[in-house]
Symmetry: C2
DNA sequence: GAACAAACTGAGCGATCAGTTAATTTTTTA
DNA sequence: TAAAAAATTAACTGATCGCTCAGTTTGTTC
């Protein structure tokens, strides 16, 4: 059986966590397996015992991050009060921005280009990326459809507009990490813009 | 003076062009100076004669790309017909999408994360990135202000909305390169959404 | 306490690559 | 045309890094 450290976390979990930090912060190529190993006081070989290659380790990191994203979003959706579709959209945008702020470092995993390159010939990696995008697009789409049912949102192609909305908010978060401006400073105007884009006026 | 190749381009220009292709296609770290050199039939040392370091070469590539982006956009703006502000916005979105399609490979220079990391401690690189974002934001902003003067666009904070619009269209282009969907397939709905976001209704 | 399997180690191999150097060739200048 | 300057080359250096592997340690099962 595997040895357990004091904290209760297995070596394998510790490796995955530290790899997440390094891959997000420095990227795949600029992360040396030796750096990860030294940081958690483990031999290089230990990492290769648990993960066959550096690439496999990266894919495991992506899978773990995907699961975290979906879990946290599901928790938000579950704890959300009774509101109409348009308000759900506004809540989602606000939630995504705050999630990206909370997990700023880890979001680099999505905003670097490497994962998308790897996805081209690594089915596991592609799968995780598609899962993430499909999940968020569906969450936005569901809110639009609900809004069309409760008459808060106009008749538009729900899937396409969901894609546009998610792209917009994710793009804003991404460019926000470049420190060219604060994404939160645009938040007010962003929700106002989305409302104009979606809102159904009275007496339609 | 340097030897000239048949085409008339100097070695230095050839190096810059080939470096652009490699840095865009494979990224900074995964591009070996030796690859660039071999591709144009030049010794490694020749590259270091013209550009002191690999990083300097990269910054030169960014500068060159910046100039191309601004030049091509200025040409579009100059050749554009007389239209109102809202139509100018729609034209700009269409132009940006087609420019990104035409220069798909080179746009990776903007959509990779490395340049933004380098910008943190390389003033030259930061300068070029800021120039690019400032330029496009201003172009969108000018169109919004024009639209507010000719009553085609409602009263909104022009700079902030310009940032949102540019982020949205650039984000769409970026995610389009992941092959998860075709950005042109969203074009119709994108312009319709922007119109709803900006358009001033009759009789205000 | 013997036998076994899982977890772990770290030295070392082979390959890659940015940058250097010294010698050579080409071009410019006077 | 000869000296000076610029451009180019091939060979080399030193450092990095992914991965392997032969062997060791640890925990479990009879």
């Amino acid at each position: 059986m595997g040895r357990r450290k004091a904290g209760g976390a297995s070596r394998k979990e510790a490796i995955l966590e530290m790899a997440t930090v390094f891959f997000a912060e420095k990227g795949f190529r600029d992360t040396a397996i030796g750096d990860i190993a030294r940081m958690i006081g483990v031999a290089d070989g230990t990492i290769f015992y648990h993960y066959k290659t550096k690439e496999d380790l990266f894919v495991a990191v992506m899978e773990n991050f995907k699961e975290q994203l979906i879990r946290e979003t599901r928790e938000y959706l579950a704890g959300r009060g009774e509101v109409n579709g348009l308000e759900r959209i506004e809540g989602l945008i606000s939630f995504y921005i705050s999630l990206a702020a909370k997990l700023e470092q880890r979001f680099l995993l999505l905003h670097r280009h490497y994962p998308y390159e790897l996805a081209e010939d690594n089915p596991g990696c592609r799968r995780h990326l598609e899962d993430i995008y499909d999940f968020f697009t569906r969450v936005f789409e569901d809110a639009i459809l609900a809004g069309q049912r409760d008459d808060s949102i106009i008749e538009i192609p729900a899937h396409k507009v969901a894609l546009i909305l998610f792209t917009m908010v994710d793009g804003l978060v991404r460019i926000g990490t470049f420190r060219l401006y604060q994404p939160s400073a645009l938040y007010e105007e962003l929700t106002a813009s989305c409302r104009r884009m979606l809102e159904k006026k009275e007496g339609a």
